[in-house]
């Protein structure tokens, strides 16, 4: 029997309603990147004994700024229970620019979390290679927190980060702490250096041939521009890694985040619900195919 689809739309309408969250803190990461933490506003957003935000590393939220609109933003905080929601984003469009002007106390709408997640548990007892391009470190940061929360479950953890310039490198404070902790190996590089930059120059893929890990017992997670992910995948495959062990985070236009508005289609996949994380083996056929 044909159901009145309006019933289905009622449910979709519910999914399209944001919950109110209050901004708790605001921090500038780079000239146009900022990090905010949020807590559910009293009486809304599932406040209970656990006032934090529950999500899995790699998931995203739809953030609504009153009157301006809504954008998908990955969650960059610690997935441990009971902690505030944290987002890191670049101010690129009307909504994120409006968002960048908000300060603690202001309220935003949140829908989520949506999407699948990085396969953190698959990386147990394996070496873990994390490769980030620019702000691509934001959706990977929850993985790093997960690793640090139970470090002995993982083999070697290697973090490779590429950024355009030293000033655009995000989470510099955290990077320093992680480096000092000796719990992971970190390699940084920038496209263009500065007077004070003593580190490496060039693309992030250049580290891949040199790092020491067990390619047959490793997992890689990559987030950055498609071209950067493409060359990183090539380099990892040359080291002997299998396509099903290399995970990438894909991006398309997202409107509803529930696989209903159709904008985020990527071949047969809806990025919002089948992604944004894919094992490379699942998208090999269309990855780098122009305009898919």
């Amino acid at each position: 029997m044909i159901h009145n689809n309006l019933a289905g739309q009622g449910v979709v309408s519910d999914l399209m309603k944001p919950s109110l969250f209050r901004i708790e803190s605001w921090k500038r990461e780079s000239p146009d990147v900022f990090t905010m933490s949020f807590l559910p506003k009293d009486g809304m957003g599932g406040v209970g004994e656990n006032p934090g935000f529950t999500f899995l590393p790699g998931q995203f939220n739809m953030i609504y700024i009153f009157g301006l609109g809504e954008v998908p933003i990955s969650i960059s905080g610690d997935p441990a229970p009971g902690l505030p929601l944290i987002h890191t984003t670049r101010s690129v469009g009307a909504v994120t620019q409006g968002m960048s002007l908000l300060r603690p106390g202001a309220e935003v709408g949140v829908r989520g979390p949506f999407g699948n997640h990085w396969p953190v548990e698959r990386a147990w007892d394996k070496d873990l290679i994390l490769v980030a391009g620019g702000i691509g470190l934001a959706p990977l940061r929850p993985v790093i927190y997960s690793v640090l929360n139970s470090r002995n479950k993982f083999g070697k953890v290697i973090l490779l980060i590429g950024s355009k310039t030293p000033s655009e490198m995000v989470f510099r404070g955290e990077l320093r702490d992680w480096d000092r902790s000796k719990l992971m190996e970190i390699h940084l590089t920038v496209d263009r250096g500065s007077k004070s930059w003593r580190g490496s120059l060039g693309v992030v893929t250049k580290f891949v041939p040199a790092i020491s890990f067990e390619p047959e017992n490793a997992l890689a997670m990559i987030c950055g521009p498609e071209v950067m992910m493409h060359f990183t995948i090539d380099a990892l495959k040359k080291r002997g890694m299998q396509p099903e062990d290399i995970y990438v985070s894909m991006e398309r236009n997202m409107k509803c985040a529930v696989g209903y508005y159709g904008h985020c289609q990527y071949g047969p996949h809806f990025i919002c619900k089948n992604g944004p994380i894919f094992p490379y083996s699942e998208i090999e056929g269309i990855f780098r195919e122009p305009e898919v």
Binding site: N4, K17, P268, E291
Partner: protein, 372 residues
């Protein structure tokens, strides 16, 4: 099966109205066929036929008294089931943020559709899968509203653009209806062969003045739809079509079709299964009230694929490829069915007459492209 004389057809509409349904059906308005309110049987497009071709549609007087002597118009029932514009919520600005306002309860009419074609029932079923998957994500599956009462009319006058026989969706309905009718016009008789597909359909059918159909009448009904099926000359070879399109992202024919395609989005607007929508967040001039609207969108618009830095699908080639590959291939992976029901609307309403069946066969009939 029952025989309802043409003179008693009006009772069907009256009974539906008496049962509390808002009745909708085809009407001839402004030179086209639209689905609109029906009050009485004379609202139906009696004596009209349609002529359809590539980029061609004419609704004409036929000189015979058929009520349903045409195929389909530009509109589909999705305009009722998946409205083109729908407000999702309204919010008011507060000191630090905003508050969602309790929505005023919107009256949901119980709808009855008269004259639904087999291909259109398939389209409704396909769109429903999209809702069901989204609803499943909410962990709060849809409590179905009163489903629309569907009076299907078997297609006896397919158009030149129809290819339901290729998609296995018609011309005869098989399920998804409350009542199905076959309209028969012979020398001196004009009647409908009625069959119920549900309990409420049977109840309603029992109240319409009718008599049992004879074997001869039943076979005349079957012959009418068989003849319709045989008259359909357009075809789409669906065998291995998904794999074929997956292997041909770089076929030269995409460039060729892009040379003709205006990227106007007509095909997506008239398609009874296209579901892509957009969210529009608005604010009033006072800056105090915001609303969120759901509106039909088209993968042919350049904004559709916009991400920071620009649209993913800049070229018309990539947008046509997205539409056709979605309709005939990726849809199968997403929803377990083709997204095409063979109604031919996209061919009729394309201003330059692009034909999805031809585009598919062009790819099938030429050598597979090399891997990039």
């Amino acid at each position: 099966m029952k025989i309802i004389e043409r003179s008693n057809f009006g009772r069907l509409i009256e009974l539906l109205k008496e049962a509390g349904y808002e009745v909708y059906g085809p009407r001839a308005l402004d030179g086209g066929l639209v689905y609109d309110h029906i009050e009485k049987d004379s609202d139906l497009p009696e004596g009209y036929k349609d002529q359809q071709g590539k980029g061609l549609y004419r609704l004409e007087k036929s000189g015979d008294p058929y009520l349903f002597g045409f195929a389909v118009g530009s509109q589909s029932w999705k305009k009722f089931l998946h409205p083109a514009e729908q407000r999702l919520w309204k919010a008011k600005k507060t000191g630090n943020g905003f508050t969602l306002l309790d929505p005023e309860p919107e009256p949901r009419p119980r709808m009855a559709f008269i004259g639904v074609r087999a291909c259109e029932i398939s389209a409704m079923t396909i769109q429903q899968k999209v809702y069901e998957q989204a609803a499943a994500l909410s962990g709060n599956p849809a409590t179905p509203d009163a489903p629309p009462f569907i009076v299907a009319v078997n297609c006896t006058h397919p158009s030149n653009n129809c290819f339901c026989t290729s998609m296995d969706t018609g011309p005869r309905v098989r399920s998804g209806f409350d009542i199905s009718l076959t309209e028969i016009l012979e020398d001196h008789s004009h009647y409908f062969i009625g069959e119920s597909g549900s309990e409420r359909g049977a109840d309603l059918l029992a109240q319409i003045p009718s008599r049992q159909a004879t074997e001869a009448e039943i076979s005349r009904g079957k012959a009418a739809t068989d003849k319709a099926a045989q008259s359909i000359s357009r075809s789409l070879d669906t065998h291995g079509l998904k794999e074929l399109l997956y292997q041909n992202y770089n076929h030269p024919s995409w460039e060729a079709v892009a040379d003709r395609c205006l990227s106007c989005g007509n095909c997506t607007m008239v398609c009874p299964t296209c579901f892509c929508s957009s969210v529009e967040d608005t604010i009033d001039v006072t800056g105090q009230y915001a609303e969120r609207w759901n509106k039909w969108d088209s993968c042919f618009s350049i904004d559709f694929s916009y991400i920071h830095g620009g649209p993913v699908r800049n070229s018309v080639k990539s947008r046509y490829r997205q539409w056709m590959t979605h309709k005939l291939a990726t849809w199968i992976d997403q929803f377990g069915t083709s997204g095409c029901v063979g109604c031919g609307r996209c061919i009729t309403w394309c201003p330059v007459g692009i034909d999805i069946t031809e585009e598919a066969s062009t790819i099938r009939n030429s050598p597979k492209t090399q891997e990039p």
